[in-house]
Symmetry: C2
Subunit: 309 residues, 2 copies
């Protein structure tokens, strides 16, 4: 199928990795690129792995020339937990992403899905965020994504590229960094350690990352253009998710709620309007939360020394 050859960037990352199996299932000839060799946990997906640094202009050009992808799912970025929100590296990714997409289009590429973020939106005004809600990023990361969105929409207009922008909200699941919320809770509880969290009263739209991967693949397959929220459309208190994770991990008593302060100016609720995803893309194959958390904890169990009571 030379007709549908997709290049996935950030393929060893949290989001990118989870798009690979869904894309292969949709019949794409999948080409994955990351700075690292093919991960060990991809044994059952048929794809071609490429090692390249997309921040290197020569690496980018050679990659596009070698693959000549018809489709591009651009998930690569620098997302070091605790560092990325205010890092100047975000701007390196804006420039590299524009140049990557420009090269992709010049080589005949037709369809693009890039990964955006709910942190492009102004938070705290309305709890429900629609694709047309006002943008007002509070971080360098959010601003960089907004800058890239504007650039890619202009590039799409100037060149006739079909381009969608997937705004991801909060994520959890296998392969998460343990410095992030669910990774921290799951790994700590499995290792029998107490773990401090905020009171967990804020409502957040948390999506199972495997669902996000499947939704991104469906978005690529569609001809929907512009921003599309990729989320669940629900936002229970974070404490419910934490309790479920700790419970399935076997020791909910290890979580110390309120032992960490909530972030200053934390909005009470951040939730996506997902009508575009549901009605235009037509994707709604959500994994039930209990099952999603069970799979998440099982993944952490496969990696952690299991805590003995």
């Amino acid at each position: 199928m030379p007709d549908r050859r997709v290049l996935v960037t950030g393929a060893s990352g949290f989001v990118g990795w989870h798009t690979l199996a869904p894309l292969a299932e949709l019949g794409y000839d999948v080409h994955a690129v990351a700075r690292h060799p093919r991960p060990d946990d991809l044994t059952d997906v048929t794809l071609t792995w490429h090692v390249a640094d997309l921040l290197d202009p020569a690496g980018r050009a050679a990659l596009i020339a070698a693959i000549e992808p018809t489709h591009l799912l651009h998930a690569a970025w620098s997302l070091e937990p605790g560092q990325y929100a205010e890092s100047p590296a975000n701007l390196d990714w804006v420039a590299a992403s524009i140049e990557l997409v420009r090269a992709f289009r010049l080589a005949g590429g037709r369809r693009l899905v890039s990964v955006g973020t709910c942190f492009e939106y102004e938070h705290g005004r309305s709890p429900i965020l629609h694709e047309t809600s006002p943008l007002r990023p509070a971080t360098v990361y959010g601003s960089a994504k907004q800058s890239l969105l504007i650039a890619l929409e202009a590039l799409a207009r100037a060149t006739g590229l079909s381009a969608a922008w997937a705004r991801l909200f909060y994520l959890y699941g296998p392969r998460e960094d343990r410095r992030r919320l669910v990774g921290d809770i799951a790994s700590s509880v499995l290792e029998g350690r107490e773990v401090a969290t905020s009171a967990g009263l804020a409502r957040r739209d948390y999506m199972f990352v495997a669902d996000a991967g499947a939704a991104l693949a469906a978005l690529l397959e569609s001809d929907v253009v512009g921003p599309v929220n990729v989320a669940t459309g629900t936002a229970p208190p974070v404490r419910e998710l934490v309790e479920l994770v700790a419970s399935i991990a076997g020791n909910p008593g290890l979580v110390r709620y309120g032992a960490r302060p909530s972030p200053a100016n934390d909005p009470p609720e951040i939730r996506a309007d997902i009508s575009r995803l549901a009605s235009e893309v037509g994707w709604s194959a959500f994994t039930p939360r209990e099952l999603a958390v069970s799979r998440t904890v099982a993944w952490w169990r496969s990696r952690s020394p299991v805590a003995l009571p």
Copy 2:
């Protein structure tokens, strides 16, 4: 004065060239870069000329490493008349500009002025445009500039760079392309040819390009950050400017008003609020319009075969 070493990009262009003498007068060690060799009409300015293509990553890196500028006045862009508004090359300049500024900052650069445009603003809602007026570019060019502004503000925040963004409005003066309004009128009338224009009823904020160059230099010298309108704050009907140009060029009867249609959806008035430029930057050294037009026509006369009656 190694303390104030400015790199001017787009130095052979319409705007960049006009910043060179004012910067030298302010005491900067001026380094100019363009793809072309030093122009013949720079004999009386002390500066160092560099030939480089800023769209080439290696060229950019070598340039910054060689100069180590403390200040950057970034005027380079692709502005081919009739082509640039919808060209994908605008996006090449977004990426190249981000990478240029990133390299500038990493090499110790402290102060940036980049050139933006009134075409970032939403037009048609209010005739007077303030720096905080809503942005809604109608062209790929305007969107690319908006994208770059957001990226550079994020980069400034992430790295502590002092960065201003000069929103230029309409310009005329020596070294203009003859495919632009005043260049067309002046060169045609001097050559004794009829020239077709619209009725010229729209009100536009036209600035003498030498004043724009001086204002940019003053902005660089200031510590004002963020967007700053660089314009006159007045917007007489365009016909007044055209009549003055044609009159000083010696034959106002050659202009055929209304022989060209006005652009569709042409806003009746586009005018800058220049209170930031006046009160924060403290620049207001406008050349009187008659004198500015006389200098413009004199420049065209020095280049054109003079029309004989």
